[in-house]
């Protein structure tokens, strides 16, 4: 049984880490080697590509942070949670994580709210 809260916390911590060296260490510790990430806007496979996705979001939204919007829940090797980006969360989404051997194996992300253009 996966500890949903711990997995979600480490996931959000990665997205909030602006230092690429520390991100690399976090990916080694908590993500499977060939981990996959896919949301409606971005996809990547492996630590280097996922690191680049996080870096791209920090470049686009400097100073913004991801927050969990409510406690994560999960069952078996699955975890889900909703998040908000920014000081006042103009962007919100919900992610489902598949965990394997305690590490994040894949991320399926969806957007719940995006700002009007």
């Amino acid at each position: 049984m996966t500890h949903a809260a711990d997995i979600a916390q480490s996931y959000i911590a990665l997205w909030n880490e602006t230092d690429a060296g520390r991100r690399q260490a976090m990916l080694e510790q908590s993500w499977a080697k060939g981990a996959t990430y896919a949301d409606p806007l971005m996809k990547g496979q492996g630590h280097a590509e996922i690191d680049a996705l996080v870096g791209a979001v920090h470049a686009r939204f400097p100073g913004f942070r991801f927050d969990l919007l409510k406690p994560a829940d999960g069952h078996g090797d699955f975890v889900r949670f909703s998040w908000g980006l920014g000081p006042d969360h103009p962007i919100k989404g919900s992610d489902v994580l598949v965990v394997e051997g305690g590490k994040i194996r894949s991320v399926i992300g969806f957007l719940d709210q995006v700002p009007s253009p």
Copy 2:
């Protein structure tokens, strides 16, 4: 690109089908052979086990129906939607489907609302 609305509609139709023979035909048509299903209460793999899960829910909630609570959305091979069970939806959940070659390959289900005991 998966047609999220079509996939979700066929998924809900399976859960509303009380005839085991028709369910078998629907599984053949729309679900991959080794498809997996997992929610907090039940899991199964392959058409026969998934058919049995649906049958068990009809046995427990005779006459109840699943409804989509809002339009499905998706990207790539992923579809998500929320559903309600019953005439007045005392039980609600959200599912993520992974599609492969146009057929449902895996279902990751979560419960959003369950009745108080």
